[in-house]
Amino acid sequence: MKSKENTKEVFESPLKIRMKLAWRAFKENWKIFSESKIGVLGLWIVITFAIAGFVVYPILASTVWKPTLSGMTSYDPVTGYDFTTMNNPTPPSWHHLLGTDPLGRDVLAQLLYSTPREFALGILAALITVFIGTVIGTVSAYYGGVVDTFFMRLADLVLLFPFIPFLIVLSGMIQIDLLRLALIIGLISGFGGITIVLRSQAMVVKVKPFIESAKVSGASNPYIIVNHIIPNVMPLSFLYMMFNVTGAIFSEAVLSFFGLLNIRMSWGLMIYTADTAGYIVGGNIGHYWWLWLPPGAAITLLCGAFYFIGRGLDEVVNPRLRRR
């Protein structure tokens, strides 16, 4: 009798139970993740950047950095100019915490303005990469044969592909803005190494008896891929997503440093501006440190942080790496 009552209670909301299960799994994984110091460090850096970009910048832009009525000082990251300063670039001061760039724009404003865009680019590119990689990897592992051969040779090709030179050539043909760049990076790296990794993982899952068990129940091939293989390679693809964020941000920095991207402002572009104005040449490099150090450090830190998170997740996904 008691079990029957429980039954009703249980079945009132299966969705709620699933939420609970997900929460429990998340807590367990979080425990493992939080034991890896490097992963937690990465997470903190990412959170700091996220707060700076998504919270601090809008607040500052609407309060302290509001354009003054006289129009003497503007903190706009692209069109801003400070008429009160004598010559640009000016070193850090109370008005400009990280100084101004050669065109008189506030470096800190540029830095903060770019942060959400770097996030968007990195995460969008990584999502596309992982989506393509997971689908192609599992499909080619499951079906094998011609499909498998085709996508694996394509992956070899992409791996050998000179990625940055290709983007340089491409930027001469089309206008590459942030969204397009994310699409291109996502598409190209999706067919590359990640496909091979996820395919090999899917090969391991494919021969497990529970796949045969599903087949005996009459499950179709797409059903098996979606319901059995993909959930089992998902942790790995999530891990690779973190590593891909790093790759995307880095590619963006390289391309905007070459001045090949059609974007308003980015960390790479800040260094590009300083470089083309001749401030990162020879002895200037130490003297005008505020022009290249903040964006350079930001790129390094954010890329590193995502990589660190990936390393932390690695320990969740690969029990062998855990320290007992």
Binding site: S3, N6, K208, E212, S213, V216, G218
Partner: protein, 335 residues
Amino acid sequence: MPEVETSNATDVVIKVEHLKKYFPVRRGTFARAKQFLHAVDDLNFEVKKGEVIALVGESGCGKTTTGKTLLRLYEPTDGKITFLNRDVTCIHSAQDRKWLHSKSQMIFQDPFESLNPRKTIFDIVSEPMNVQNEGNLKQREKKVMDILNRVGISPPDTFLWRYPHELSGGQRQRVAIARALVMNPEFVVADEPTSMLDVSIRTQVMTLMMELIHEMHMTFIYITHDLAVARYMADYISVMYLGKMVEYGKTEEIIQNPLHPYTKALISAVPVPDPEFKRKSIQIKGGIGKAIDPPKRCRFYERCPFAKDICAKEEPMLIDVGEGHKVACFLYSKN
């Protein structure tokens, strides 16, 4: 109890004629396979409704391949499989496949691998219904609870949202059985379902399966290498050697009166609990032969202590020596 049921139901559930399954052996990268592994070679049998047949043989003799071919996990190389009076050798339409899989199921050997580690028990057990689009969520839940209760997972609601790794081996195999039986299949292939289990749990699971078979009037093919298990479970025993069926008959008939030298050797290898008991044992030479393109002769020829000249020249046919006891050996053929 079982005798009454088997004699009442006489319609054939699955009939296998000249079933062959060859696997190509890869030689070079670009060369086509020239050699074939004869995993299942010319198998003929039929199973009537409510019967339990045990496929017995040493490892590598094609028991599991037979089971999987029957359930169309492998495409048969040749032969004909008739399931419930329908030819299922070549299934092309998705509808036919769904029909076949709604009527037949398989219980796997390893309960640690045959349940998806990322699914809850409810997901696992209800998957066949999910695939076959049977019932709505409420009905499925009810059915899952019922079947879990029947296989001895109780109270079921405490297990419903657990993952396989939270269960013990015996519980997992019970869940695997529940999953196989949730659609009320007519025909079940059990591939050594107890061989991975602890000895103490083995009997429980076997008893459970016996009960379920008789309750649900299922037809069972029980694959095992253990003659004691086969004797406990099955109405008929079929002994396989290198892809061939060498002996077939009623369980007690096979155990008490084995005819084929291989069956004799198998039975003499079963330990007897009485130390005083002396049984004349048959020693066979060597190990199991290669099934890659075997020559046209008795497959047991190299190991057989009673081999005659004719055994090296021809393949013995499965002949009836009376009362449905069939044996493939020249020692019993009437010339």
